[in-house]
Amino acid sequence: MAAPPGEPRRVAYLYLLPAFAVYAVFLLYPIGRAVQISLYDWDGLSLGTWAGLDNYVAIVADEGLRAAFGHALVLIVFYAAAPLVIGLALAAILNHAKVRGLGFFRTVVFLPQVIAMVVVAVAWRRVYAPDGSLNALLGALGLDALTRGWLGDYTFALPAVGVVGTWFETGLVTVLLLAGMSRIPLSLYEAARLDGAGAVREFFAVTLPSVRAEIAVALTLTVIAALRTFDLVYVTTRGGPGDSTSVPSYEVYHRAFGLGQVGSAAAIGVTLTVVIFVISFGINRFADRRTS
């Protein structure tokens, strides 16, 4: 059978080679190496000893680590779910009302994304301090009973960290959704209105289905951000009070550089990667199936 016209197809692999080489050296090799290290008991200095799956068994057995993964899941609510709800509402209003100065509002909402997370964390640490602005505000409202050292409170430390995430991610989600909504043909809205749909009905019937792809992107980005939270916890609470805000990424850093348990740290890292991969794969599968 004659080959299809044009260049021989196999040469295409040659074109892929440069990019693949970079990808392999900086991504595939380190991943393979991390997987390998996670199978050893290694202090980062002397010769490692083979540990098989012990490090992974320890993750499951370690109550503290299970709690850390649990905290990361709680953070998903604050990092992904809350911003999505707020972002949908904000974007719908901004898009629908055709407000004047849309660019200005978009910039304001997006601004947290521009600031480095460490700076965000330092600022919020001040806000949450016992003599910080949140308590000052509560005091001014006569709600003295509610004031507390927020990041040092066992019940409120994790939500407090989560709220920072919500504040941080909402802008990104809003701008993504706004871009999606601006592509919806006006004729759809017209049709809906002719059929007698109100603003709410219109939102659920027209707007929401049209931005499903954007929602998938937003969820993927924010869920990943939630699961790999490190800088925020490192700067604000270092996992405290007690271990009530410990997260897997912080444990990776802490074990590798603080305690010299590099094998265990690599095992947590690999596990976290798998969890992130599975969740974002699920989100995309879900979004794709609904569109097709």
């Binding site: 050292g149 009070p241 007690g242 305690l259 094998g263």
Partner: protein, 462 residues
């Protein structure tokens, strides 16, 4: 949709690739296999050490330090310049980074084939202990002999840089480093506030508690405190523990050796006393949610009568409070009780095992810790670890700090930081103390948590 279909194959290929990479490697390249075999510790190598630095020929020494801030940077620059002037044949290649950066990069640097010659390594098990275990540091005992370090430095100071050759025992064995500066945790007080309350600096522990009570009724913050960073409470608890537990027991616990216990009545008493301070409202409000820096800065602004903290805050607090600042060792049961205080040294300077110029490196360490160097350290606002009593400083808080450190080292009253005990103890203790202070854990549960970590480690460590 084609993209969708192809994805699984991509994933499979990736997994295959990773698997084959691991398989190919499984035999030959275990992590750390490129590192040297744990050197058969150059046990003060039979070849005599040389102390004639000028006669060592042309040598370049690479030095990694963390003396980057204020007075620390000033003393290092001054001493390095003097060293260069005295020994032009030894060229210094100085690399300085912040404490955190040094801690995270040193590990990699030491496992390379050309590590720096002189490094500042943190005393703890996960730093110096791990380096000793991996055979990366050179024992300095022969140099200590030749330069007379042992007569100038009290043993209670030197032991913070001692490890057994296998890195298992901390606080005894070979000497692996020499520090420049000392530190001790004591009680800072605001003299003006004490005067207003009609009090004098307490001379006994009971007087201290009375003073806290009077400050409380006087509407002041008795004890400034911020524990968001987890570790500050370790210093406060250590100070309380020093009143109830014999120093030798604290030493055994803190160096993680067998033969002591956390669940003794004395430790229970210490934990209970700490909790009673929470109940009586002696600590600043919301302390578990307040940062360490924010807390001492608040003390500097006049919020708080007392602050339990280390001498490293002296320069900053002096700037803020001036003559109103006072410092004292934690008082004992009676006015003339032997002093006991948590304390230690700055980061010790060590010589790497692979350094080709150990003699020159030792000469450098001797130079920056000599009697003249101690004077330079004093002039630049640091607390020299040796000859502390002989330094001339102005009256006031600086004098009080110098006297305190001189007294406590002369009487061997320094007890180690509790977080030295095991590689994980800093976390265990930090989290457990937050639990204790927030009353999430009772004193006995708190001590049981510590006992578990300590016992597990001490047993496995042999």
């Amino acid at each position: 949709m084609t993209v969708q279909k192809r994805q699984p194959r991509g994933v499979r290929a990736l997994a295959l690739l990773a698997a084959s990479a691991v398989a190919a490697c499984a035999a030959g390249c275990a992590p750390g296999s490129s590192a040297p075999p744990a050197a058969s510790s150059p046990q003060a190598s039979a070849t005599a050490v040389r102390t004639d630095a000028a006669g060592l020929g042309n040598v370049t020494l690479t030095v990694w330090d963390q003396e980057v801030r204020g007075g620390q940077a000033a003393q290092m620059e001054k001493l390095n310049a003097a060293f260069q002037a005295k020994y032009p044949n030894i060229k210094l290649n100085r690399v300085s980074r912040s404490f955190d950066d040094l801690n995270t990069t040193l590990r990699l640097a030491l496992s390379g084939n050309e590590p720096p010659d002189v490094v500042e390594a943190n005393n703890g098990r996960s730093s110096m202990g791990a380096f000793v275990k991996a055979g990366q540091l050179r024992p300095l005992d022969a140099y200590a002999q030749a330069y007379g370090w042992k007569s100038r430095y009290p043993e209670s100071v030197l032991r913070y840089s001692r490890y057994s050759a296998d890195g298992k025992l901390f606080g005894e064995g070979n000497l692996y480093g020499l520090p420049q500066v000392g530190e001790v945790v004591g009680i800072f007080y605001n003299a003006a506030k004490l005067k207003k309350l009609g009090l004098r600096p307490p001379r006994t522990w009971a007087e201290f508690e009375t003073a806290l009570d009077r400050a409380k009724t006087g509407g002041e913050v008795p004890l400034q405190f911020g524990n968001l960073d987890k570790w500050p409470a370790v210093h406060v608890f250590g100070t309380v523990q020093g009143r109830t537990v014999p120093p030798s027991q604290i030493g055994t616990l803190a160096f993680g050796r067998k033969g002591a216990s956390w669940t003794t009545p004395e430790n229970v008493k210490a934990a209970e006393q700490l909790v009673s301070w929470v109940d009586k409202g002696y600590f600043a409000k919301g302390f578990n949610g307040q940062g360490y820096d924010a807390a001492w800065q608040a003390f500097g602004k006049g919020q708080g009568v007392f602050l339990i903290a280390g001498t490293w805050l002296l320069a900053d607090l002096r700037k803020a409070l001036g003559a109103d600042l006072g410092f004292m060792l934690p008082p004992g049961a009676t006015a003339d009780a032997a002093p006991v205080a948590t304390g230690g040294t700055g980061l010790p300077f060590a010589i790497t095992a692979k350094s080709p110029h150990p003699d020159a490196a030792a000469a450098y360490i001797d130079f920056i810790t000599s009697e003249d160097a101690m004077k330079v350290l004093t002039e630049t606002g640091n607390l020299p670890v040796a000859d502390t009593g002989e330094q001339t400083v102005a009256d006031g808080p600086q004098r009080e700090v110098f006297t305190a450190f001189g007294t406590v080292t002369a009487k061997d009253g320094l007890v180690p930081y509790l977080d030295y005990a095991t590689p994980t103890f800093a976390d265990t203790l930090g989290a457990a103390l937050q639990d204790l202070l927030a009353k999430k854990a009772a004193p006995r549960d708190f001590l049981a948590t510590l006992e578990k970590d300590y016992k597990t480690f001490a047993e496995s460590n042999g």
